[in-house]
Amino acid sequence: MSKTTRTIPRLILTLVLALCFASCFSSCGGIQNAINPAGPNAANISRLWWLMFIICSIVFVLVMIAVLLSLSKRTTEAADRVPVLEPSEESERRRRNVVVSATTITVIVLFVFLIASYSSGRSLGLNDPTKNGLSIEVTGHQWWWEVRYQDVDASNIFTTANEIHIPVGVPVMFSLRGADVIHSFWVPNLAGKKDLIPGKINTMWIQADKPGVYRGQCAEYCGFQHAKMALWVVAEPQEQFNLWRQNQTQQAVAAASDVQKRGQQIFFSTTCVMCHAINGTPAGSNIGPNLTHVASRHMLAAATLVNTREHMAQWIKDPQTFKPGNRMPQNNLSDADLQALVEYLQSLK
C-alpha cells in the first residue's frame, strides 16, 4: 500500500500534464474554434489565452512538485503511536519565508494577468468601425437568427437569416437584439460572444482577416432548440461580397416553369405563407426566416441541414424530427405538391 502512496503525486502530475499537452496539441483547426483565430478580436483573445495557459501550467506544475516533495517522509505506524511533531523555530521560519515569497509571487502573477487582460480588453474596444458603412442588425428568435443589412440607401436594406456574409479585412458593426428570450451571438473564430437581450441593443464589431466560413452558435440557453441554433459567417473578398449583396437586394425571381408556378401556388395556399416572407410576392410575414433568396444559402434550419432538395423536402414535411420543439409545424403535403414546392423554393437563388 505504501507503494501506491509513494506514486500518488507522480500519477497526479503525469496524468494532468499529459492531458494539458493533449489539449494544446489538439486545439488547432476547426471552423468553430476560439483558439484558431481568423480576425483581430479573436487573435487578440487567443494571445491572452496562450499567455495565461502557459503561466498557469507552470504555476500548476510547481505547486504539484511542492506537494510531491512534501510527501517524501512517510510512516506506516498507527498514527496514535507517532509522537506529535514539534517543529524547530528556524524550520518554522524557513516555512514562513517560503509561504511569504510564494504569496508574493502569486500577487505578481495576478498583476501580470490583470494588466494583460485589461490591455487586450482596451484594444477590443478600439478601432471604431462606424466610419465604415457596413452595419448589420442581428435579431435572435427561438430558434433562428434574423439578419438585416442596414444601409443609408433604403433600397439596399435587405433581410436574410442564419447566414451572414462579410467582406474580408473590413470591420463590420453588429447591433444585437433579442426578440423573445436572451440569446448570445458567438462566432468563436472571429470574436467573443455578446448577449441578445430583449429590451436592449448591444453592439460589437467583427473583422475577418482570411476568407472562409466560420460557424457560430447561440451561447445562452434559450429553450428546446438552443443546441441547434447556429449560423454561418461567410467571409469573402470585397467584390464577391458586393455581388452577393447585389443579388440579395433584388426581389425574388418570378416562378418560371409550371412546376414552379404550382409550387408557388402551394406556398400561398398552405401554412408556409402564414410565417414566411418572399419579397416581390404578397408573402410578407416575418414570423419565420425570410425566404426571398433561400436557395442561395448553404444551410437550412439555422445551419443544421445542408441546403439540398432532399433535406428541404424532409424539413418541410416534418421539421419536428430534425429539431423537436421548433416553431415550424409539420405539413402533410402530397409528394407531388412537396416536390413542386421544393422546386419553387430552390429556384429562389
Binding site: 503525486p9 497526479i12 517522509k73 517560503v98 423537436p324
Partner: protein, 656 residues
Amino acid sequence: MTVAVDDRELAEAMRQEREELEKTWARPRGLWGWFTDTDHKAIAKRYIFTAFVFFLLGGIEAALMRIQLAFPENHFLNPDRYNQIFTVHGTTMMFLFAVPIMTAFGIYFVPLMIGARDVAFPRLNVYGYFVYLIGGLLLYAAFFLNTGPDAGWFAYVPLSGPAYSPGKRVDIWAQMITFTEISALVGAVIVIGTAFKMRAPGMSINRIPLFVWAQVVTAFMIIFAMPAVMLASSFLASDRLIDTHFFNPAEGGDAILYQHLFWFFGHPEVYIIFIPALGFISPIIVTFARRKIFGYVPLVLSLISTGFIGFGLWVHHMFATPIPQMGQSFFTAASMMIAIPSGVQIFCWIATLWGSRLDIKTPLLFVLGFFAIFVLGGLTGLMLASVPLDLQIHDTFFVVAHLHYVLIGGSVFPLFGAFYYWFPKWTGRMLSERAGHLNFWLMFVGFNLVFFPMHQLGLNGMPRRVYTYLPETGWGTLNLIASIGAFILAAGVLVFIVNAIWALRAGVVAGDNPWGADSLEWSVASPPPNYNFHNLPVVQGRYPIWEATADAPVLRGLSTKTRETLVTSVMDAQPELRFDIPGPSIWPFMVALATGVTFIAGIFTPWAFLVGAILAGITLTCWFFADPNYENKAARDTGEKSHKVAPRAELQPKEI
C-alpha cells in the same frame, strides 16, 4: 486552588451522574421520535443521509446527460426531457446536496468540537431539516410527474418568465429555492449562535478549531447572500402568478436585474459550498501530519477575507451582457484577488505537510486529490475572471469543466475525505482502507476523464446546455471520453456506498480516537453519547487533546437533571450562564408542515399565503407555549444537590 477527591467515591458518583444524564438526555424513539427528536447528531445524520441520496439522484441525472452526449445526434433523450434533467441536476447538486451537507457537518461537529451538549437552538434545527426535506421531495415529486423545472439552475428570465415557461415547472423551482434557503438560513443562525456562545471554558477566540472558523464564515456568508436569491425567486414567482412586472421590459422591468440578484447570491454560494470543505482539510492534514497547523492566523484571516471578497465578484458571470469597461476592470480585479487567500491556504497546508512523517490514509489521499484538482480549477477561474477571455469561454463547456473542477475538486473530494475521517465517530466503526484507496483512484481518474476534455470542448466552441451536437463539429471523441469517465467516477461512488454498508455491519470497531487526532470530538466515545460530554471539557490550548494536562481543571455544577449546558462569553469563553436547552417537541415539525403547505399551495393560488399565515401562527403559538423551561423548573429545584463530588471550590473562571 485544588481539592482532594477520593477516587472510589469519585468513580461511584461519576456512574450516578452518567445515569442521570442518560435519563435527562434520552431521545424519543420510534416514528414519533423521528418527528420530535432534537438531538443535533441525529438531525445532522438525517441531513447527511438525505443530502447524500440527493447527491446520488443528481449523479444519475448526470449519467443520463453523459449518455445523451456520448454521440452526436443521439436520440436517447429529447430536448424537453434533457432540459429538465440538466436543470434538476444543477438545482439538486447546488441546493439539495452541497449546501445542506456542509451545514450538516457543522451541526454535527461544531457542538462536539467546542465542547457543548447540543446546538444553541435545537428545535429550530428540527424545523430546518424538515423544511429542507419538504423542498427536496417537492422538486423530485414534480420531476417524476414531468413537471421538473427546465430553465436551467439559474432560471434566467425571460426564458423562465411567464411568457416562455408555461405551466408550473419554474414555480416548483422557485418554491424549492425558498424551502432550501429557509433551512440554510436557519442552519447558519444555529451554527453562529452555537459557536459564539457555547464554547468550552478556555476556548478563547484564538483557540477555535479551523473547522469551526470555516463554518462560522460560511454561516455569515449565507446570512448576507441568501436574501438576494430569496427576492429573485419570489419576484419571479409573483411575475408568474400575479402579473407583477419586475422582469417585464415593456413595463419598466429588467431582465438583467434578475441576473444581478441571482449572482449576488450565486457567486457567494460557490464559497458557501467551498469554505466548509476548507474546514475539513485543516483537521485532516493536522491529524495525519501529526503536527500543529502552520499559520493558524493566516488561515483564519484568509477564510474571513475569502468571505468578504466573495461578495465582490458576482458580475463576472455577466460580462457578456455586457458590463461597462470600468465595472469590468473592477470585477476582474476582485475576481483575481480572491486567488490570494486561496493561495495562502494552499501554501500553509503544504508547509504543514512539509517535512512531517505522513501516514497516507484515505482521508489524506482525498486531500491530496483536492490539491491537484482544485488548484487546476482555481487557475481556470483566473482565466474566466479576465473579461476578454471570458467572452470566449463563458457559457461553454470550458465553464462546465471549471465549475466542476472547483466544486467537485474543492468540495466533494474533501467531503469524501471527511466521510472517511469522521465515519468512525458517527458509527463507531472504521471504513476499509483498501476499498478507500480504490474509491479514491476510481473517483480521481474518472473525474479527470470526464471534465478535463471539457476545457478543450469549450475552446472548440461547444456551448453548455446543448442536448446534442452535429457530427461535423468534431466534438464526438472528447465527449465519448467524458462519458466513459463519468461511469468510472460513478463506480468510485459505488465503491464508497458498498464500503459504508459493509463497515456498518462488519467494520473494525474504532476506539474513541482512532486517528490520534487533536480536537474535542475525539475525546468522547464513538458514537458520542446523547449528552456529548459527561463533564464539559476545559480547554487549555488550540489542540485540546494534544495539549491536555493531567491536572486540567474540571467543570462542576451543571444540573444533570435538566438539559443544561454552559454558555460562555464570545471572545474569551468565560462561563456566563447555565442555559436550558429545549428538549424534544412535535411543534417544529408542525410549523415545517405549515410552511410546506403554504408555499406548495402558493404555487396555485396567492390565497394560500393567507391560510398559511394562520396555520403558521397557530403552530408557532403552540411551539412558544410548549416551553421546556417550564417543565424543567421543578426538576431543577431538586437538581441543585446532585453534585456529591464537587465540593464548592470557589474558583473564578478567569483563573484558568
